[in-house]
């Protein structure tokens, strides 16, 4: 039995709540289970046929269980003329499933779409929201291998978007950096985290764009965590709500000026870099 009470309550009264609810359910279960749709209809006071109609209308929703990773191959005009059908064929051959189907081990779901909006970069393959551009048949194996080994891992040496930051507490201005325990090969950011009745340390990767986290207590997905400075015990708060999920953002002062904000919800990857003045920017690059 699926439990969607939290999802429905979070979105209640929002404009276009039905789509948001369905998206959240899809994000949680990777598809829309039948009993979840029935529960949505009941809880939002809509008829089941309306909910079902919306769920079947949008291509982004699936009523069949999907794999852990969603591989989408763009078949739009621009990608098509650059050889997307061959890429799709190669993906099909290596995953042993036709588009729209999921592999037997429930790891991959292969899909084709008619434009992913990156025509200049085609042929495009998107895996779990990560875009691979100018894909040819020789790249397919590498993409699938990279997916198996984890796409969120940031390669510091080659990825230009990843750079380490140094942060401090906004109240006592004490550095939060921990040079002893390194994550991603860089000094980690150490804070005190508190959720439910648990209280303990939490270490974040200092690489901007990496989501590696270590913590004393296992934090369940979707939990909103309170962050505290380990030096002055002040709560790291006051940055407003996250635009993606509504949980409060956690602000930290950047060495060199500016504020970095991360979402306090486990699993929500929303973050923001607010630089006061551009000189700090060139310094990092």
């Amino acid at each position: 039995m699926t439990d969607i009470t939290g999802i429905v309550e979070k979105r209640r009264g929002q404009r276009g709540e039905l789509l948001a609810i369905l998206q959240d359910i899809q994000a949680k279960y990777s598809y829309l289970p039948e009993d979840a749709l029935r529960a949505v209809a009941q809880k939002t006071g809509r008829s089941l046929v309306d909910v079902y109609g919306v769920a079947t209308f949008y291509h982004a929703f699936s009523l069949k269980p999907r794999g852990k990773h969603l591989v989408t191959c763009c078949m739009g005009t621009a990608c098509h003329v650059r050889g997307a059908p061959k890429v799709a064929e190669e993906l099909e051959r290596q995953l042993h499933v036709p588009p729209g189907e999921t592999t037997a081990d429930r790891q991959f779901t292969l899909e084709t779409q008619n434009c992913l909006g990156g025509c200049a970069l085609g042929p495009i393959v998107v895996v779990d929201g990560h875009y691979f551009s100018s894909v040819g048949t020789p790249n397919v194996r590498g993409i699938l291998e990279k997916t198996r080994s984890g796409l969120d891992r940031v390669d510091l040496a080659s990825d230009l978007r990843a750079f380490p930051v140094e942060v401090a507490c906004g109240r006592c201005n004490h550095s939060l950096m921990d040079a002893h325990d390194r994550i991603d090969g860089q000094p980690s950011i150490r804070v005190t985290a508190s959720f439910a009745d648990k209280h303990g340390w939490l270490r974040l990767s200092s690489v901007y764009g990496s989501f590696e986290v270590e913590s004393q207590h296992e934090i369940p997905l979707d939990t909103v965590v309170d962050f505290f400075c380990p030096h002055c015990s002040a709560e790291l708060a006051g940055a407003g709500p996250c635009v993606a999920c509504g949980a409060s953002m956690v602000p930290m002062i950047l060495r060199g000026g500016g504020v970095v904000q991360i979402c306090s919800r486990r699993g929500c990857h929303h973050h923001m870099l607010d630089l006061e003045g551009t000189s700090a920017w060139s310094e990092w690059r």
Partner: protein
């Protein structure tokens, strides 16, 4: 009150009146398929198109969903309307030739050819049954499922709906299944059987005393060529 001009006839209608209602009030015939009194206008079949505006800005709109606007000039059977309406009928015939309702409309509008790839669907997606189920039966058991070429009428998950009371209202209002055309050549899109009737009433003696209760009389509507 709103003043409009229908085929050159000035008319004053209440706010919110659709062009179809205004035309029906004056007696200008506009064919309809998805329209049904007691159900919300839906504008799916496009049979009821009329031309509004003048000159290069004239455009075709579905009269069942278009509310009357002050000073609007409407033509219900200009050559452009007739041409477009015949095209719509051809498309309906292409998808659903076995519907007597559609065959009758085709006869009445002198459609003698069907130039599209012939399909034999049982549904033209006019949404009458969906609206019937929702608005009159207050059940919401059936609805539209999927989209594009895969769009269909169905129940959630393709199973029998728990809220369906099997009232049969959906079948009662369906223009595709209420009457089956029983024409003899299923390969041809157009039956034409009904179109070849000479008005039988005229052959009767003492026609002056005869009252016709056929509504509409298909034979009378056919223009003599």
């Amino acid at each position: 009150m709103i003043n409009i001009t229908l085929n050159g006839v000035p008319l004053e209608v209440e706010k919110g009146t659709t062009l179809l209602e205004a035309a029906q009030f004056l007696g200008f015939p506009i064919p309809t398929l998805c329209h049904m009194e007691g159900l919300h206008p839906y504008g799916a079949c496009r049979l009821c198109i009329v031309e509004i505006g003048e000159g290069p800005r004239a455009k075709l709109v579905s009269s069942c969903t278009y509310p009357a606007e002050e000073g609007l000039k409407v033509r219900t059977s200009s050559s452009r309307v007739v041409k477009a309406r015949r095209m719509v009928i051809e498309l309906l015939l292409a998808s659903c030739p076995q519907s007597k309702t559609i065959q009758d409309i085709a006869s009445a509008h002198d459609v003698r050819q069907q130039r599209f790839r012939q399909e034999h669907e049982d549904c033209i997606l006019c949404g009458r049954c969906v609206r019937m189920c929702e608005e009159q039966m207050v059940a919401k058991a059936i609805g539209f499922v999927g989209r594009g070429a895969g769009r269909a009428i169905g129940t959630p998950f393709g199973k029998r709906s728990e809220v369906c009371r099997q009232c049969g209202g959906c079948m009662y209002v369906c223009p595709a299944c209420e009457l089956r055309c029983t024409y003899s050549e299923p390969d041809k899109a157009i039956c034409g059987g009904c179109a070849n009737l000479a008005p039988p009433c005229l052959e009767k003696e003492q026609f002056d005393d005869l009252m016709c209760y056929m509504k509409p009389c298909v034979a009378c509507e056919i223009p003599k060529s």
